[in-house]
Symmetry: C2
């Protein structure tokens, strides 16, 4: 189940972008009773009462979660970075439950259960059940959350000749802290600037114009407040633009940053981001990826990220498009 | 030259919607020197130094405005209502100048001159050279002003099975006053609500869904502050929705209101708007129209709004689609 970028610059809590990588893997195997296990030394709770994937699984199936199944979660990346780690786990748990329960995935009722379950998982992991990441992971592409109640979201599959470069500072930033710094009021001009960029970003995506997408990534409703919590953020952003990126913005609530860049400059932009963070005294790592198409289902014995062979589950898509930058 | 609706609900200073009617007519005739005249008892300045059409005409042609031509402006509606009266006059004057000067209308340079000239006319008339109305009048359809400097705008031709009902209170509201009440800061949630609705509105327009368009017309960045200056606005809006409109919002800086409604309820919605204003103690008039396609050029002897026969000029389009509600 792919990770994702919330906000996507100006679209506070409303825009989500599915990444081609990294992704979490969830596997289901027969068991004597419901069990949950975390593969490897992941940085998330192993307790099924608080783990996003386990909570989401049980929320979708309800009592049926007593079904004898062993749910194994293999994390593709650590939590607390801003690229939707908990959202991916929650989405994976919810989708696995729907598959296990034999729900009709094309039906509206099943989708509503999956989304509600994933929201419950997201809430358990980070305190808020925001849906931008969850929906982007589940459905892929670019996601616009039009309305929460009733739930209404629109999805586009952008054809964007661009790479997405993500740089993640070592020091995590908790979602709660990232939300706590948001101001109660904002300048009227900032509100107008964000709505202008949000519409411009969508227009750029619709016409497949990565330069326009990059030009509309600046956010004034959240990033300026959150960037103050992330050493090196400003220098990293400036370095990415100087290295040829069309634009860059904080990934979700941070501390990660993502840049939209011509493919040919992707590695240069990644190195620039790392150098920018280093200038601010922060250690970080970066990787190059692209826009993801959503989760991949498998049966049989694939070899997903964590090497966990499993009969039925959700694999991290598109890993071949991802390369870690040293 | 058609009138237009600025803001279009959530798109503060950035969205414009061309109306099928009303429209201004500009006519050019040979003369011994540059002359400007206003046909009929219009409510706008007759002085060529302050009239939007005359200022725009001269701004486009510069010294060439000394050319011997008589410019006649016939207003299709009065000023100070919020439906882009000055923008239409300014656009008409600028376009007439470009035609008179033999500019290549398909060329980017000519377009830039026309827009700059129209902005000058708009500024002369109402103190600000805002472009949302001007561009919507000039190009028709739905207009998104992506960037002012450099000028960049996107235009869509919505296919929307809906009528636009406009109700105009008798008491005018000056643009300056309407701008003066805007707050310096707005709640963070209002900023997010507006960007969500702006994107949702665009999505609704793109898929030709008038119900979605109506549902996204609510504005929190300007309308709540301006509505307090317009007696009966709130009751008129509520009455329109109760009568079957999909949505309603202030037209530009007000005081007019427009509603997006199924064609079959258009006259009922118009009457409801009038009754709503009356409830607030305000007299108003209403008309039914639709989305306009932009200006119509003519040569020869048509019979435009004011009955002014003229050899070359710009006619108000689509008057047949317009019906005044008593």
């Amino acid at each position: 189940m792919p990770y994702s970028i919330g906000n996507v610059g100006p679209g506070f809590d409303r825009f989500g972008l599915c990444l081609a990588a990294p992704g979490d893997t969830v596997a289901l195997r027969p068991s004597d009773r419901f069990r949950f296990e975390l593969a490897g030394g992941a940085s998330v709770p192993a307790d099924p009462g608080t783990n996003a994937a386990a909570v989401a699984f049980r929320a979708v199936l309800g009592d049926a979660a007593a079904a004898p199944v062993r749910l194994t979660l293999t994390k593709g990346y650590r939590a607390g970075t801003g690229i939707g780690s908990s959202g991916a786990s929650a989405a994976a748990g919810a989708l696995a439950a729907a598959l296990h329960g034999g729900l009709d995935l094309d039906g509206e009722a099943a989708r509503a259960r999956i989304v509600a379950g994933a929201a419950a998982g997201e809430r358990a992991a980070c305190g808020t059940g925001h849906l931008d990441n969850v929906l982007a992971s589940l459905f892929g592409g670019f996601l616009f959350l039009e309305s929460v109640t009733p739930l209404r979201a629109l999805r586009w599959d952008p054809v964007l000749p661009a790479a997405i470069v993500v740089a993640v500072p070592e020091a995590p930033l908790a979602t709660e802290r990232s939300r706590a710094v948001l101001p109660g009021v904002v300048p009227h001009g900032d509100a107008v600037a964000n709505l202008t960029r949000a519409v411009g970003l969508l227009a750029g995506l619709l016409r497949g114009d990565p330069e326009a997408v990059g030009a509309h990534l600046e956010d004034r409703l959240a990033e300026p407040y959150r960037a103050a919590l992330v050493p090196g953020f400003g220098t990293a952003r400036a370095a990415a633009l100087a290295a040829g990126a069309w634009g860059a913005a904080m990934a979700g609530g941070g501390p990660a940053i993502f840049a939209v860049t011509p493919e040919r400059w992707a590695r240069r932009v990644a190195r620039a981001l790392l150098a920018g963070f280093a200038e601010g005294g922060a250690r970080a790592e970066a990787f190059v990826t692209g826009i993801g198409a959503g989760p991949e289902l498998y049966e049989g014995d694939p070899e997903p990220a964590g090497g966990t062979a499993a009969p039925v589950g959700i694999a991290p898509p598109g890993r071949r498009r991802s390369g870690r930058i040293p």
